[in-house]
């Protein structure tokens, strides 16, 4: 089964996944019309800045067992049987924020959502784009990512590729480095900048 895989070291912090995600979870599902919607659709992937201002696309890991599901007071959080996606039923959610204290990644937000009940804030998080996937598309954040920080593939395939890349980069006369040179350079620059400011 394909899933969204995050390659944190590749993220350049461009945040393009965020509007793509918001658009995918809007009523009209087009960027231009989505920004005019009320309530405004909001992203469910959150690019945060790390210690060296490097980007990191933070999204729901769909944990098993899921702490948010165990702590949910109303049973609004459940696991989608087919895709193993952890979902929130907005009509059962009472916006109590119990899941906020359970999620070890801090990926749940609370606001009125275009796809939820009108006029009421609810807990909102990544749903693995189940609606898009059902239509044969890939998740919006992956489609928007230009640097390969988000991919949609079998977990085993991604693991094998990464293992091979690491092995090659360690061998003499190595081929491709694990990180593309441009991405590596950007990260080095960001780290030095933060070190300089500190010093």
């Amino acid at each position: 089964m394909k899933e969204v895989i995050v390659h944190p070291k590749r993220c350049v912090g461009c945040m393009q996944c965020m509007p793509a995600c918001a658009t995918a979870h809007s009523r009209t599902r087009h960027l231009v019309s989505a920004v005019l919607e009320t309530p405004q659709p909001k992203p469910r992937v959150h690019v945060g800045a790390g210690r060296f201002n490097e980007g990191f696309p933070n999204r729901c890991r769909h944990c098993d067992p899921a702490p948010c599901q165990l702590t949910c007071l109303t049973g609004a959080i459940y696991r989608h049987a087919g895709t193993q996606t952890v979902m929130i039923d907005p009509d059962r959610c009472i916006n109590c924020a119990s899941c906020a204290m359970a999620c070890p990644y801090g990926v749940i937000r609370f606001h009125e959502d275009p796809l939820g009940p009108p006029g009421r804030a609810v807990a909102v998080k990544c749903d693995n784009c189940v609606a898009r996937v059902a239509e044969g598309q890939i998740p919006a954040c992956v489609e928007a990512c230009k640097v390969g920080a988000l991919t949609y593939e079998e977990r085993d395939t991604a693991m094998k590729r990464q293992t091979l890349a690491v092995a090659r980069s360690m061998s003499s006369g190595a081929g491709e480095p694990v990180l593309p040179p441009g991405v590596g350079l950007l990260r080095t620059m960001k780290e030095s900048q933060v070190q300089l400011l500190k010093g």
């Binding site: 959150h46 945060g48 210690r51 165990l70 007071l73 924020a97 899941c99 906020a100 999620c103 749940i108």
Partner: protein, 409 residues
């Protein structure tokens, strides 16, 4: 194998479900005081404030007992436990034998000792039946009195204010939520409620009630008379463990459990509000009577009972409260005494719209209070539960842009 589960709250329900993941054939008997379907106890305050209907309380389907092949014995409490003969006696004198027993009897409201407690309009806030009666009483109520400034008291006061009643809150300590949060956060909550019309009396308790059939006034220990037609008592809860023979099972405030949630008697486990486990942030035994803990403990106890040894890492206090425009999240040992050698750092406060307080013991986070912007609370909670030595400065942990990425190498 015959499993007997005492209690049909969330701990008992999660235990039964966990047993069924490993043992499809074993007999499960569930004894419950409440006859209602398994429901969300923390949600009753949402029913009281009118934001959710009563019929949304159940959290399991109507055929829960049948589909899980559980024999429910409802409307009954255990009155005695014979450890040697592995037998539980119920209030109606029937006896149930067991091979594995789970004590998940929960807790009952701490009773108030005052004269004329039998008057109508005086309630506890603990069960769906309590809230059903309270909602029915709302139509004739105008002036409410809430006793207790803890979480339940505050939620009750907030709910009744939202329902348009005139509400007076009586608290014995100097500020509300003194067990959960520090003084600054407590005052922020209080200010918000005062701004919305709540009346608060500090340092007073009720000695007696007056009325003719229904309550009309409360008399305080200072002798003053507070007119009211509805009273909600919220003075905390006490573990329901009177039936447990102390010569066989170690009972402190709650039933003491080990790291597999087994009591001091073999084959008997305990979970939920009745269990006393090791508190991760305090480093000592503690009864953390909380819904999320009860759910996790029930699940782990069930797995252990069905024969799969699973370690329970310990409990931790945690709460989240939303009153009007204020979100309050508290984790762990959030309000330690000065003698405990903790370092407390804080930022923000009243008027700033945001408050953060972190409690550290050496370089381990043991407590936190967040007022507003609580989304990253779970990240802090995970740091506390796993006792991760902090590498990040406390100012970064408290900054508005703190997020999971800050913890990456």
């Amino acid at each position: 194998m015959k499993y007997v589960i005492l209690g049909n709250g969330i701990a008992g329900v999660c235990a039964a479900e966990a047993i069924r993941t490993l043992d499809l054939e074993g007999e499960i008997v569930m004894v419950g005081d409440e006859t209602f379907l398994p429901y969300s106890r923390p949600m009753i305050s949402y029913v009281l404030d009118g934001s959710e209907p009563h019929d949304k309380l159940p959290i399991r389907p109507a055929d829960f007992y049948e589909s899980m092949k559980i024999k429910p014995v409802l409307g009954q409490r255990a009155v005695s436990l014979d450890v040697e003969n592995r037998r539980v006696q119920l209030a109606d004198s029937t006896c149930i034998d067991y091979d594995r027993l789970l004590i998940a009897t929960g807790a009952d409201p701490r009773p108030l000792r005052a004269a004329h407690m039998d008057l109508g309009g005086i309630f506890y806030l603990r069960t769906e039946s309590h809230v059903r009666q309270q909602v029915a009483a709302l139509s004739t109520a105008r002036r409410a009195l809430v006793l207790g400034g803890g979480l339940v008291g505050l939620k009750a006061a907030y709910a009744l204010l939202k329902r348009g009643l005139e509400v007076t809150l009586l608290i014995t300590s100097g500020y509300p939520l003194s067990l959960q949060v520090d003084e600054i956060a407590g005052k922020m909550v209080l200010d918000e409620l005062l701004r919305r019309g709540l009346k608060v009396l500090v340092g007073r308790s009720v000695r007696a009630f007056e009325g003719n059939g229904v309550v009309r006034a409360a008399v305080t220990d200072t002798g003053s008379r507070l007119p009211c037609d509805m009273v909600i008592i919220a003075k905390g809860v006490l573990p329901s463990r009177d039936f447990i023979p102390r010569q066989h099972i170690h009972v402190d405030l709650g039933v003491v459990v080990d790291d597999h949630l087994q009591t001091s008697a073999a084959g008997i486990h305990a979970a939920g509000d009745v269990a006393e486990s090791v508190d991760i942030s305090r480093g000592c035994r503690w009864v953390n009577a909380l819904w999320p803990e009860a759910a996790v403990q029930g699940r782990i106890a069930g797995l252990n009972m069905a024969g799969r040894p699973v370690v329970y890492p310990g409990s931790m206090s945690r709460n989240v409260l939303r009153v009007y425009d204020l979100d309050v999240l508290t984790l762990g040992h959030a309000n330690p005494g000065p003698e405990e050698g903790c370092r407390i750092v804080w930022s923000g406060g009243p008027g700033k719209g945001r408050y953060r307080s972190l409690v550290l013991k050496d370089d381990i986070l043991v407590g936190a209070v967040l007022v507003n912007q609580v989304e990253q609370g779970g990240v802090l909670c995970a740091l506390m539960e796993n006792r991760v030595p902090l590498r990040l400065s406390t100012s970064r942990l408290m900054a508005p842009d703190f997020n999971f990425a800050c913890l990456l190498p």
